[in-house]
Amino acid sequence: MTPAPHPLAPEMRLATPRDLAWLIGALALAILPHAQRAPWWLTLLTLCLFGWRFYLSLDRSPLPSRWLVLGVAAVAMLGVWIEYRHMLGRQQGILLLVLFAGLKLLETRTHRDATAAAFLGYFLIVTNFLYTQSIPAALLMCAALFAITATLVGFSAPNRAARSNMRTAAVLLGHAAPAALVLFLLFPRVNTPLWGLPQDAYTGMTGLSETMSPGNLSNLALSDAIAFRAEFQGELPPQALRYWRGPVMWDFDGRTWRLGDYVPARADPPTAGRAAYRYDVVLEPHNRTWLFALESAASVPPRARYSGDGQILARFPVRARLRYDVTSVIGPEARSDEAPYLLRRALRLPESFNPKAAALAAQWRSGARDEGEVLSRAIAFFRQGRFVYTLEPPMLGSDSVDEFLFDTKAGFCEHFASAFVFLMRAAGIPARVVTGYQGGEVNPFDRIVTVRQSDAHAWAEVFLPGQGWLRVDPTAAAVPGRVESGLARAVPQGEQALIRHPGLEWLRDLRNQWEAAAHKWNVWVLSYNPERQRELMSLIGIRDADWRSLTATLFTALGMITAALLLWSLRRMARPDPVQRAWRAFCAKLAARGVERSPHEGPRDYAERAARALPGARRAILHIAALYMSLRYGPHASARRAKQLRRLVRELRLT
């Protein structure tokens, strides 16, 4: 006999219009965030495919032929190619996934196809996280996940009201949450990717670059994107001391400053100073290795190194939000020695550029007794030079320093730093350009300092014999407001982003609150990493947790959750009442001795028969039967007597 078709097998169950409506709704939710990046026609096409499929289901029309579906696919892929001119990128892959969701529905007949399409929804959700993992993205994920779950429940219970199925989906997700939390916290995490990522995986990350030329920091300053956040333990350093050191530029070609060769460290960072600050930094990915720390760092985070020019460098480019804690000291003890080759490098200048600036420097040098005097002359020059600080500096030609210092007198911090270091080198004082961030906004709600790309800054460091490297900020000298109150008040109004407008305090408040939440989100959800996992494990008393202890803890916790779920599933199950259970146990005992109760036999007849068959236990048998009958049918049932019955049955010995 051939087995009958299985009515619960998904390939045997046809998708009804209700099933399709749910599925389409769930997939639309999953596609929604992609729509803001996809070309409009692709989103529209996918929605049309959804609508077409639903329309076909209403009057049970046959599905379009495979050739028609393939034709639509080919046209859409051609469209993607025209849009991007290649097909192998991440964005194109995701667009094809969106399109595929529509095409898959067109060949969905049974629940098997429909379920596969629902699983496709999971991939649509997760691919959105390649672009954004914000709180709204997470909320949208929850909505889409709920819709997909309710859709699947609907497939399994086609005759049930949608409202009941939604309730079941909610209960299921509620039950999934504890296990999900435990897995999230305890599943062993790794820091490195499993394989190489596609070329375009990290485009669009903003941040400082390896070079500095006029214009590139002022471009960055227009970006409101967050560079990093710092959470201080205890006191916050004042605004004017918040210099976050980043890449250090040594080499100048007349226009552009470059990092040059890596400077190996000769010693550990200095640890003693006037004031020490301990803080956690959550760094947004910027696809470079620099880690930013307050000047000057006294400790180096794990898996990072300290360079000879005071940079902190991660081993790999930072491609995911990174959290590290650092200690910084203000006014560290001076290191008055420096390698001679570095001092020579810090004096190197391109030949025959910027003659006027070079002449000015030579004039300072000849009239000064020592380096200190040259320095103060230079600072005075900037302070009195009536320089204008602007986000839109005029274009500069090949003698960029000369033009800035003597003609345009308007620039952004990179102009000031570049010109200052040029002057110092021309005057024979070793100098270098340091880029990084200055300031940062303190959120009054959680006291976290948020540093944005618009806080990008460049300053100078000069080497004075006996005093070592000193920070000099020519921008601060020329435009004191820049450093004391941040960019907003230093730049003329009209050039600022609207949100920095001093009149919009309430808007800033709102943003501060939102960012406080977003910071917690980043720390606890997005940049949860092996280090944090170890911290958590040490809270429950497991030090130096490795993957073995994590896995052991994970399975213990999952086992407990499963047991709790099983207990829940036993709840609300009707159990026979205790009297009935005792009676059944009694019957089972007698049956084991060969006296089985026949279904029609009442308790009295049965007990009498059993008493005759087992005369040794006659009294007990009759007693139990009498008690049972009075409890079951009599007016005086009581818990005490029910207990007595249970005890009697338990103690009944039939020998």
Partner: protein, 322 residues
């Protein structure tokens, strides 16, 4: 795959599932009796989870991990819910009406949700016949399924093993349970249509004088048989219907007829004899005669009516059955 293996190795299945002899009364599917494995969709779900996990690790997607782990938790919850959907269903086999051999026996089975939640999409399948039905059981309520099983031989037909299965709520898991209630269906011998014994059946002992299928009073129609006289064919009825019908006449309503084993041709085997007797019982009952049944060791006094016919047919069904 697994079920195929078990079907080929009944003793292995017996050991694995701890099959019990038929159980009396209401059988409650306790958790211990519910088996659960991932369905094919469940494996696909697992593969999806694996891909999501690898992607999340590779791109360090915090929310990707969150989604993957939520789905893993969903799988766990679905497993518990699927088993729960079957656990503590009370299975009671109802009364099965007797049938004639060759007809399907119809077993009524009551499925009772002994809990405060409903149980959608429960499949009940009769393993012997493959008859199956999907029902929803309301909370604290009962759903009835009627499963047909072929009844080939006369005698008692035990209901045999039933399987209950569910994939609710997500279709990721398949939970099932076996139950064999102590229910049976009486199967009468396959009735052979043959003319009732004639007036010669007259008993010497009694004062009965009536040939049964006489030709005085019209008493009804029956299907035509080759031995029937063409004069008795109901030609009007033939014109109306598809088949040939023969008019039946009974001599006397109160005639008593003995359907006697001894009077059957000696060449007939046991089953043929029982079949013919069963056919006679039906014909006699239809003809309105009082009739009695005589088998070796069994005698049922002449009477009339449904319960009498049932008693006669039961005697035939169980004759020389262990």
């Amino acid at each position: 795959m697994i079920s195929g293996l078990l079907e080929r190795n009944p003793r292995f299945a017996q050991w694995l599932y701890g099959f019990k002899p038929p159980e009396r009364g209401t059988v409650v599917l306790v958790h211990r009796r519910v088996y659960i494995v991932p369905a094919r969709i469940g494996w696909l779900f697992g593969a999806t989870l694996g891909l999501l996990l690898i992607g999340s690790i590779n791109y360090a997607l915090g929310l990707g991990f969150a989604l993957t782990f939520l789905l893993a938790g969903l799988g766990l919850a679905a497993m518990v819910h699927t088993a729960r959907n079957l656990a503590r269903i009370g299975v009671t086999a109802g009364r099965a009406e007797p049938v004639f051999a060759g007809e399907p026996a119809q077993f009524r089975v009551l499925l009772e949700s002994r809990a405060g939640f409903d149980r959608p999409a429960i499949l009940a399948r009769h393993l012997g016949s493959g008859a199956q039905l999907v029902v929803d059981i309301p909370a604290h309520g009962v759903a009835e399924v009627v499963l047909e099983a072929p009844a080939a031989r006369r005698g008692w037909l035990p209901i045999g093993r039933l399987m209950l299965e569910t994939r609710y709520p997500l279709g990721l898991f398949r939970a099932w349970s076996y139950v064999e209630p102590d229910a049976r269906c009486l199967v009468y011998p396959r009735p052979e249509r043959s003319p009732l014994p004639t007036a010669a059946a007259h008993e010497a002992a009694g004062g009965q004088r009536s040939p049964v299928a006489g030709n005085e009073d019209f008493s009804g129609l029956r299907t035509y048989q080759l031995s029937d006289s063409p004069r008795h064919v109901a030609w009007k009825a033939v014109a109306r219907t598809d088949g040939m019908l023969t008019k039946q006449f009974s001599g006397e309503a109160a005639a008593e007829l003995w359907l006697d084993w001894e009077r059957l041709p000696p060449a007939l085997g046991l089953e043929q004899r029982l079949s013919r007797l069963a056919g006679w019982v039906l014909a006699a009952e239809r003809g309105g005669a009082r009739y009695g049944l005589r088998l070796p060791g069994v005698e049922i006094a002449p009477a009339r009516g449904d319960s009498h016919a049932a008693a006669c047919l039961q005697a035939l069904a169980l004759y020389r059955e262990s």
